[in-house]
Symmetry: C2
Subunit: 460 residues, 2 copies
């Protein structure tokens, strides 16, 4: 008789265990979220970082202040370890406010809003004036060749594709124009470049962002971004007057590298301390605003995870390491340094999570990993759905953690709703008043829940 009952009993036991494990997890996830929604600090911290410290480009005094602010926060929360990891970062300075105008024979002078792209050289003193040639792509540029481009300013005017539901897809399609636009134009003898700002919105704010000069390019030409209203205006005037001229002046320059830091805190794992799970955002930001969404939000959410684990007395089974990465915006030196150090020390990272897509309402996580790792995450999706997390289809991890993939770590990128991000991204509009408290906190809760499950159960 026992023989007949035993399998049934075992089966029942198995089911009951799954049931109660799920119930236990479900209750724990609710504790975590309730703690953040009721007692979260990340919104207040982000207010301080945004309004008291402000824009914090790598190497700036504000970046140093952000390092010290977050180090003290980590200390005050009672992490097991808090330390700074030195790294040298580039020091690019915008200098005086940029100016620009369209010089039309038909309609006279007309001022437009521009900003230097990060890493650009300055114009000559007094500015640069030249005819403009408008293109939408490098293919068009190539077709024009030196004959059509030499001595002119290249105007990259490719609008965002508004039909793409995820705005990051539109950004990725246009990104090359910002990154390589100056180098591509210089090949054909252009004297400067104007980029239509990478944004969904139509307004007067130019959006900056990093660019680079290819090693193969002999002459570094100045590169600016123009607001979308300015771009539409310039394009319209060019149609009637292809010979109009554009004048712009920028005083940006690059200083020698400066020492800065990744800021790191750790909760040691109770059962598998050697298995490391990383969570982070980047501490540096562009200089035009407060860097509240990009990426004050992700940095403060990561700190919220630490605070929440401590507040609820959760000792993770695997080591949880919270990182404020330095220099994501114009160099990625912090991420590089962190990955090098991890390799040198022979550390084993099983997972790494990044929040760097704005403090908006969370919708899921991008997953970059093996089928087995993704299967582990898939098992938890039912637990996460009540929090509005349903989207695990993208394979985006994040710029600051991508180098940890070599070690076999599963990369997770928080995916907030993307509709509003590029309205403010890298422009003067990325300010604290555009962050919603509950949206920010729900993002932090999503991260904390997922990190709880990963540190508790591993990911394979």
């Amino acid at each position: 008789m026992l023989k007949k009952i035993l399998p049934y009993l075992l089966f029942t036991l198995f089911i009951t265990n799954i049931g109660s494990a799920q119930q236990k997890d479900s209750a724990q996830l609710k504790h975590i979220t309730d703690e953040i929604m009721l007692h979260g600090h990340c919104y207040q911290w982000l207010g301080y970082l945004s309004k008291r410290i402000g824009g914090r480009l790598s190497g700036s005094p504000q970046a140093a202040a952000a390092v010290e602010y977050t180090r003290q926060l980590m200390d005050s929360m009672g992490a097991d370890t808090v330390y700074l990891m030195p790294c040298m970062v580039p020091r690019w300075i915008r200098g005086k406010k940029e100016t620009a105008k369209i010089l039309s024979n038909n309609s006279g002078e007309c001022g437009v809003n521009i900003c230097a792209l990060g890493g650009s050289v300055a114009t000559p003193n007094g500015g640069l004036t030249a005819e403009v040639v408008e293109v939408q792509s490098f293919a068009e540029l190539k077709k024009l060749g030196a004959e059509g481009v030499k001595g002119k300013i290249v105007f990259y005017n490719r609008p965002f594709d508004e039909t793409l539901v995820n705005t990051f897809d539109a950004y990725e399609r246009n990104f090359e124009l910002r990154w390589s636009g100056a180098s591509e134009a210089a090949k054909y003898g252009a004297v400067g470049t104007i980029l239509r700002s990478l944004t969904n919105t139509t307004d007067n704010n130019p959006h900056t962002g990093v660019m680079q000069y290819n090693d193969s390019v002999k002459t570094k030409i100045p590169a600016c971004a123009i607001s979308t209203i300015g771009a539409d205006q310039l394009s319209k005037l060019l149609k009637n007057e292809p010979k109009l001229r554009f004048h712009f002046e920028m005083g940006c320059y690059t200083m020698p590298d400066v020492q800065s830091y990744n800021v790191i805190a750790e909760l040691k794992g109770s059962e598998h301390p050697e298995e490391i799970v990383v969570v982070g955002g980047h501490l540096d930001s562009w200089d035009l605003a407060q860097g509240s969404h990009d990426d004050g939000a992700g940095a403060m959410q990561s700190l919220e995870v630490l605070r929440t684990f401590k507040a609820l007395g959760i000792r993770p089974k695997r080591t949880l390491r919270i990182i404020m990465f330095m220099n994501e915006e114009n160099g990625g030196r912090g991420a590089k340094k962190y990955a090098e150090e991890a390799k040198r020390k022979g550390e084993k990272h099983i997972a790494a999570m990044e929040s760097d897509a704005g403090g908006f309402s969370p919708r899921g996580f991008g997953l970059d990993g093996t089928v087995a790792q993704k299967a582990t995450i898939a098992k938890w999706q039912g637990l996460l759905l009540p929090y509005g997390l349903y989207d695990f289809l993208s394979t985006d991890g994040g710029a600051d953690i991508e180098k940890l993939k070599d070690q076999g770590a599963l990369l997770l990128g928080l995916e907030p709703d993307s509709q509003r991000y590029f309205d403010i991204h890298h422009s003067a509009l990325d300010t604290f008043d555009r962050v919603n408290k509950r949206e920010l906190e729900l993002g932090a809760a999503s991260m904390a829940m997922m990190l709880y499950l990963i540190t508790e159960y591993g990911v394979q």
Copy 2:
């Protein structure tokens, strides 16, 4: 041989047909969304409604302007039929701006921000002054009884439950305090009520909304909402000084009913004209702001559906009827009238959709219907997921369409992300600058896609 092959052939044919039908639908849904994201008008219309017409409480000149504006829009789009459906609506007027102060013996006078709840009577001229008794629920009120309440002002100070992920759940839990608070307090001899504003945020803006006096209540007492900062302040002072007094003055009053209208347009069904599918939002709004999210957004999204069907040359197989409902905020007379007329004419509504939860990023639809109807919708979920629509679990339809359920219509309520809604709901903050163009348009696209499928295939 044929016998063996035939079932296989048929099966293949079946699969191929499903495949190509799905592909055709998928392509059509993309056409619809692309049209709205590239050429949508709803954002511009909402700008006009918000900024040129503004707050439009039922019976106001602005409500009449909104009727005329949307009627003309419908006409210009070439609907098969456009007509006004008359209905009598209440005419409540706020009158002079409300004032209030806390009168403390310890700390002196302190002004706080209040507004009258919609439907409230005025205070006596010169205002009303009385001691305050704070409660969180009707149960607490009952416990205090006449002895604790008589001659006093009842202060309902129940905060939103921030742990509820969907903010509408928090709203629903507190709603009774606004709706019945004055009547319940009057039972025990209270002279007035103060309601902690129904919102997630902590700021100085009071949030209005409709209340009613039960028929059984003899004395109508004035009811106001206080900002959450004011509520926190009053509550804190009361703890040290339970005998402090509160003074408030309101000049609101109710005029005789006024004739107004539902505004209706129709695209006649090509195959089943007798099967009607409704989509709508409400045209009236509260008077404190521009009614941009509530419910200018839903009304303009509904018009966008009409424009899109016409622009793409989609002739629906079933009749699509677009309705601007009047008087959702303080009476629901338009919805009542519409349902009565439908019944009188013996019309057959197979589905009704409402957008009245803000113009935020869409996440799905609430579905109120039979299992068979929901199963039909479930078949389409794969088609809708790429647009971020994943949530079909709630059973919320909407106030303006609920009366059509008697006819067996499936009710669908657009479910946008709820995190920011109650920050602005019914307060001075519900303005056009808080609407994001892409979020609004994606909501309209979600509605248009779903309505395309329903008019094409039916729902059972």
